[in-house]
Every structure is written in C-alpha cells, then in structure tokens.
Amino acid sequence: MSEAELQQVKFPPEILDRIAPDISLKRHFAIGVRPNLRNFTEFKPIEIANSSQLQESNNNVISSSIIKSGSTTIINTITLGIIENINPNEEKKKKFTTIYPNVEILRGRSGAPTDEEMILSQNLYETIYKSKIIPSESLKINNLGISINNEEEEEKEKDAKQEILYPDLNSNEWQYINLSNQYNKSYSFILLSSIKVYSKSQSTNSLFDLCYLSIINCLKNLKLPRCYINESNLLSTKISIRSRKSNVRGLINTNNNKLNLNLDLNRTEKIKLNLTDGLISSNYGVVDIIKKEKESESENENENENENEKNNEKNKLIETILLCDLEGEAEETSILSRLTVITNKKGTMNKISLINGDLNSEITFDILKKAIEISQKRSLQQGV
C-alpha cells in the first residue's frame, strides 16, 4: 500500500498573479524585478500614431489620436456638438470649459459602463476642466455664416448653387442680408470625445495617463470648422404638434438641423488653447519591499521561537519604494498607495492626486519629491 502523498501544486506566474497577487508581488520583488519585468522606475513605452485617416474618412470627426502602449491601444475621436448660450452673462463667468469624454474598455461583455469606465471619464472631464486648458471663448462660434441659394443664376436646376456668406469674410454682401432672430442667438461648440480602449493590461491609473495623453494630443491638432445657418431654415416656421407616439411634452426641439458645419478645410481655424508644452501624466505606486534579511548574529538554540521571530522582524530591512506606471493584476490589486502627477515643460504642475491607501507603506515627503522629479524629467523628454 503506497501512502497517499500530498503533491505540491505549482502555478505558472500569470496564474499566481491572479490567485495570490500579494505573494506573487513579494516573490518578484525578492529577486529585484516587477511582475511585468520592468525596473522600478521604468515607464512603459508609448507610441503615438500620427495618422489622420479617421478624420479624413469621417466627416464628423474633427480630431483623432491613436496611442499604443504595449498591446494596449487607445482610439480617441473628437466630434462636435453645439450648444446655445441662453444666458450670455452667466456664460461669461465661466472662463474655462472642458471636454466630454466617454471611455469604453473592451472587456468581452456588453451593457452598462463599468465603474472603471465611469471613473475614468469623470476624472478626465474634471482634470481638463480644472487645469484650465480650454478657454470658453475659444469654443464660441463667432462668425456664424448664412447659406444663400443663388436662385437667379440657376433657376431651373433643382439644387441651386449654394453660397455661404460670413460676416467677416464677405462684409460687402453682408450688409444686404436681413438677419432674423435666429441669427442673433449665441452658440458655442462642445467637444465630445469617445475613447475606446483595446487590450487593457494597465492599471486604471496608467489608463488615465494614456487617455489624458490622447486627449491632449487630439486637442493639439484640433481645428474648428465654420458654422452656418441655411437661409431657408431662417424663414420657415415650425409648429410643434404633440404626437401620440412621443412622450415629449411642450416644445419639440425646433433647432434641429439648423446649424451646419462647413467642412471646407481652408476655412477651419485652429483652436486657441491654454496649453503648455510637454504635458504628461505619470502615475506611481508606493510599496514596501523587504531588502535582504541580515544574518542573525547569534544563533542561540536556547532562545525560544517567539524571540526568534522578533529578531527576524528586526533584521528585515524594509524600504519604501516608488513604482512607475503600474501594470498587471498583481500590482493593480495589491498596491494601494498611489500617486498621479501631471507636469509640463515649464516645470509647473497641473495636477497631483494622492491616495494613501496602504497604511504600511505611506507616501512620505521624500517619495512625493522623488515622484515629482521623475515626472518633470519625463515631461522634458516625452511630453506632448
């Protein structure tokens, strides 16, 4: 009869990462590497594509950016919405505006957005707003044009040739135009950004960095088109009828399709931004690692076990270290003290977020200083 033996189970690193992230992390640190095989203060390389294919093939996309970091790919496209400034005085108080991001992470399930997606979107929205990058004035539609059908010239043809007149470009013709009420309203653009993340391997913080970079990259290339109203629309009156099918009560949106974008590339204008060069967002995790254990000097056999353990504790050399650009499951779940710093080339900071999540490895001033120094170096080298 052979004895039943308890066999030792062995797990490959990626499975251990998942079932016991803390152990996996400790073992990696013990041999001096991170689970993703990067150095402690090494960032994952980022590639930024400079293709404008998405803009060219989609009329509604005015700026786009594709960023790759490892296998993680981020596709960011910016489309426009228009909003009527109903209360101009109130609008003036708001000096800066933001972008409306919508982050979607491919995860193999459909349905409502996850917490992570919502947090990322909200975080991007607020960060851009608070860092005062986009002045409200820059998104205001200043010279609203009017398209006029030249009926006299081509009476017979159905699609009479359209001409678009702008107050600043066609000042001669402009004085003959009767402006209606519709024209006197003030409008502003709204930037809508849709971000799709493929093959996510980074932590949420790193993903924020990539999304932030992609938005900044988009904003840098952003050119706003001109906008015009159709003359025919100006004259038409619309009566709102309450239909049985729709639940909308009161006024039906009468502004529908009245504003048109002029896609003429020669007529676009670069957006005026408050951007400083070299913006980049960097994230860090703070964690304790056990350096080497000192060899105990006295190996007294008489000492009881408890004391032995105490000695061991003392002999452990604990060091708090900074990890750059968190990635992978082990780091995501077991490193809870986090830092995010957005810096620029000027040497100032746009944002610091600090979460002291782990009581054992708190963020000290030295650590914070080190993180800022690394971020600034990175800004000079890699910032956009």
Binding site: L54, N59, S71, I83, S121, K200, N256, N260
Partner: protein, 269 residues
C-alpha cells in the same frame, strides 16, 4: 432620457448637421477596383488583444474591423449541454452608420448592428462544435473602427454586404486564434448580379439599374457547405439558373479569399 452613466454633454446639446460632400477622389479609387473586377488586397493580423481568447484585425481600403473572442467561459446557473454563443457587432461611436435615419442610441445595438450580428451568428453557429463546450459561453465582439467613406452616403446594399463579408472573414481568423474547435474556416463571397446577367465585385454606388446583391458564406473545405445567404434587391424574378450563377460566383470569390487566408495561417500561426 438622459444617460446618467456617461458624459454625453449638456442637456440642450444640438447635433450640427454635416452636409454631404461629393468627393471626386473617392469615386476614382472605386473605379480602379471595379475595372480590374478583382478583390482589393487586404491586411490581416491575429492575436492583437491580450485579454481576449482570440482576436483578429482586418484592413481593406478604408474598412477596418477588429474582432475579439472571449471564451469559452463558464456560465453561472444551471447546466447546459452545449455552449451558447453570443455575437455583437458594433460601430465605434464616431461612425455615422449607413442607412440610419434616426439617431442611434448609445445603449444597445442599432438596427444595422442587429442585422450584421444576426448574419454573423447564423454563419458561425453551424461551424463551431458547441457540444464540446458544455456549461460555457463564447462571446464574439466585433468592432468596426472605420468604414469606406462611400459607404456612409450610399443607399445601396452592396456596401453593407461588402462590410459583412469582411466581418465574417475577420471573425474566422479570430476563431482560429481562439483555438475553439470548429468544423471549417468560413469565408464568403459577395457579388452583384445585374439584370442583364453581368457579375460585379466590390462596392459601387453609381449603379442605378436594378440588380441583386448577394453575399454567400461557405465552408470551402467541407464540401462547400453554405452557412449563410444574404440577398438584397428585387428577388421576385430570380430564376434557378440565376441563383446557381450567384452561388458559383460567390464560391469562386470565397475560394480566392480562403486561399489567401490559408497562406496567411500557414505562414503566421
């Protein structure tokens, strides 16, 4: 109803109208592909997504498709004997979807996405050995990153079938990458049969005359079994001989694409 989970902008947001531009450049490109009446070259790459079980990427002209397959994953709940399959085709948010009159909602799939998904599902169902995967699901997610510009404006069906054709091919590669057991690789052919019996390949939108657009998917190494047929156009007068012509022509095209896929698979997997 406003979507509280997403940042969709202020409540009184107006969507500006984007006038259609008649571009001459695109049409010229089209003519080139039509005159040779052959399949334009396409680019495939597999295993591009780390957290999916299988994935593939396909580019042809301006059409870009990405397919990722998740599964087989265990399901919760009671035991089922065969695996269940779910297919979801989605356009990226910025794409103005073809043949879409109303504004697509951000939640759920639009009309066109439903049609693409159900065709893909019907093609793949007979191909996967679902009985090998009890108590599990296989999720196929297709994202259409870019479509040909001509497709946005065109009202013809051929462009939709053209897109569908490449979705099927991209999915087949992703299925192989996922190592899910299948009977054969699916490939398909898409043609246009005009009233006077001419066969055309590729997208054409200047075509006004009455014609039938056909997309037929095959398992070419399994006795050319047909796994999906999608016909558009007036089919009331479709004769048997015309139908067999359509099938033959689609099969020819499918075999050419299959040969390309095979050589890619041999060299890269």
């Amino acid at each position: 109803m406003s979507d509280r989970r997403r940042l969709t902008g202020p409540a009184n947001l107006i969507k500006p109208n984007i006038p259609e531009i008649v571009s001459n450049i695109d049409n010229k490109n089209q003519e080139n592909t039509n005159s040779t009446s052959s399949i334009p070259s396409f680019f495939i790459k597999h295993a591009i997504i780390n957290n999916a079980n299988g994935s593939a990427y396909l580019e042809i002209n301006n059409t870009i498709i990405e397919v990722s397959i998740f599964g087989p994953r265990p399901i919760r709940g009671s035991f089922i004997e065969r695996g269940s399959l779910s297919v979801e085709c989605k356009f990226l948010n910025h794409i103005i979807q073809p043949m879409q009159d109303s504004e697509p909602s951000k939640t759920g799939m639009s009309n066109i996405e439903h049609r693409l998904s159900s065709y893909l599902e019907s093609c793949i169902l007979p191909c996967i050995l679902l009985e090998k995967y009890p108590k599990s699901t296989i999720d196929i997610q297709v994202s259409i990153i870019s479509i040909d510009k001509s497709m946005v404006n065109s009202k013809s069906n051929s462009s939709l079938l053209w897109l569908m054709n490449w979705i099927v091919i991209c999915t087949s590669i992703a299925l192989i990458d996922s190592k899910i057991e299948i009977k054969d690789v699916i490939s398909s052919g898409q043609i246009k049969l005009t009233r006077n019996g001419k066969i055309k390949i590729g997208i054409e939108d200047d075509e006004v005359e009455e014609c039938i657009d056909a997309l037929i998917s095959f398992m070419n190494l399994r006795n050319d079994e047909i796994v999906g047929i999608w016909l558009e156009g007036n089919q009331s007068n479709l004769t048997e001989s015309e139908m067999s012509l359509i099938i033959d022509e689609c099969n020819k095209m499918s075999k050419i694409i299959r040969a390309n896929m095979n050589s890619y698979l041999i060299n890269n997997i």
